[in-house]
Subunit: 224 residues, 2 copies
C-alpha cells in the first residue's frame, strides 16, 4: 500500500523502539494540548506540562525529543504546533477502518461505543461464527457477518484494525485469522496471552489494571 | 478524566498528590515484579527496571520514593519485598466487592470478564431498570437486580466499587445514585464527562486512548 506522506518521521533515532508507556504518554499529551488549545493558551513549557500531568519535566522533554525537540528554550512549546505534530506522528490525521471479531456482549458494546465512531475511526463490520447472530445488526447499526467472510471483507474495505472480543480459548486462532486477512493492528480484549509475527501490532486492554488503579486511589482515600 | 479524590498519601510527603499516571506506573511495576519473582530474581536496580519498562530510572526512583525509598544504593530493590509493599500500598491485599450498574452489552461483558473475578475482586450483582433484564442471570452467573435495590444491596454487601456501564446521557444521574449508596470508587465506561464530590474516586476507561495508541504503533510500523 502506498503512503501519502507529507509527514515523514520527524525524529532523530529513526529506528528506535518507542515503548508502550511512552506512546500512552503521547496520547495524554495530546489530550492536554487539546485542552490548552481550547482554552486559548499559545505556548507551554515542559515544566507547566509536568505540573498539569504530574510527570517529571525531564521525562516530558525526553519523550518529545524522540520526535525532534521543538521546544524553544525559555519560551516552551507552541501549543498548536506541538498538537498538530503529535497528531501527525501518532497517525491520527486520517481515517482508519476497524472490524470487530466476536459479536458477543463485548463486541456489540464496542460496535456501539460512542468514542470510536466519532473522529478517525469507522467500524466496518462485526464478525461471528454463530448463525443466530449472523445477519443481525447492533443497536448503532453495525451488521454481524459470518466470520468466513472476514478475509474478503477486510481486503475489500482495506480494514487496518481489528478489535478482538472473543473468549480466551479461541483468541489465538481468531487472531491468526485476522492477521491472515491482512490486518496489521489488533486491540485484544481477551484475558489471554497472545502472539503475533513481527510487523503486526498487538495491544491488549487489561481492565484489571484499571481496577487496580481505582483500588489504589480508594485505599489512599480510606487511609487519609 | 475527572477525579474527585482528595486522598492523602501514605508515604513521606504527606501533602503530595499521587497522579493517575503514577498510579498506573505502580500497576506496571507490580506486574514486572511479579514476573521477576516468578523468574527467581532476588534484587533489581532502578536501571534494570528502567530498561525493562522503557522508563527513565530517575522517574522510577522518584515514584518509589513517594512511598519511602526502600532501594539500597549499589544493590537495588529486593524484588519480593518491593512487590509485597507495592501490593499493600495499592490496597490489593484484601477482597473488594464490586457492583455493575447497567446490564446492557457492556455490563454483561464486564460481569463475565475473566480477569476480574479471579484475585481480589468479587462481583456482587448487576443492576438495571429494564424489567425485561431484571431477574435474568449473566452467562457467568451474576444476577440482574432492579436498580431500585442498589442502595440496599450495596450497603448490605459492603460493596466498595461500582463499574458504571450505562449510556452517556444517564451516566451522571446513576453515578450520583451510586455515590448516595455509599460506594466510594467508580470505574466509568460511559464516554461522558462526570463529576463526583471530594472523597469519591472516579476513573474513566477511555478506549479511544487505547485505539490511538494502537494507531501510533501501526503508523510507525507502516513508516518503518
Amino acid at each position: 500500500m502506498t503512503r501519502g506522506t507529507k509527514s515523514r518521521p520527524v525524529g532523530k533515532p529513526r529506528g528506535a523502539a518507542i515503548s508502550d508507556l511512552t506512546a500512552q504518554r503521547l496520547s495524554v499529551y495530546l489530550r492536554c494540548l487539546d485542552d490548552l488549545q481550547r482554552a486559548g493558551v499559545a505556548t507551554v513549557s515542559s515544566q507547566a506540562l509536568a505540573g498539569r500531568l504530574h510527570l517529571n519535566s525531564a521525562q516530558i522533554r525526553k519523550d518529545l525529543s524522540l520526535f525532534g525537540g521543538f521546544g524553544v528554550r525559555g519560551v516552551g512549546y507552541s501549543v498548536g504546533d506541538l498538537r498538530d505534530r503529535l497528531a501527525r506522528i501518532m497517525g491520527l490525521t486520517r481515517n482508519r477502518k476497524v472490524v470487530i471479531v466476536g459479536a458477543g456482549n463485548l463486541g456489540m458494546a464496542l460496535a456501539d461505543y460512542g468514542g470510536f465512531n466519532r473522529e478517525g475511526f469507522s467500524i466496518v463490520a462485526l464478525f461471528d461464527n454463530d448463525p443466530q447472530k449472523v445477519g443481525t445488526v447492533s443497536r448503532g447499526g453495525v451488521r454481524v457477518l459470518d466470520i468466513a467472510l472476514l478475509p474478503e471483507v477486510a481486503r475489500r474495505e482495506k480494514a487496518q484494525i481489528a478489535l478482538l472480543a472473543v473468549p480466551a480459548p479461541v483468541a489465538q486462532r481468531l487472531l491468526d485469522l485476522v492477521v491472515r486477512s491482512g490486518i496489521k493492528a489488533v486491540l485484544n480484549f481477551a484475558p489471554a496471552p497472545l502472539r503475533v509475527r513481527p510487523g503486526v501490532v498487538l495491544k491488549s486492554v487489561d481492565l484489571k489494571i484499571q481496577l487496580e488503579n481505582l483500588v489504589f486511589h480508594l485505599t489512599r482515600a480510606e487511609r487519609a
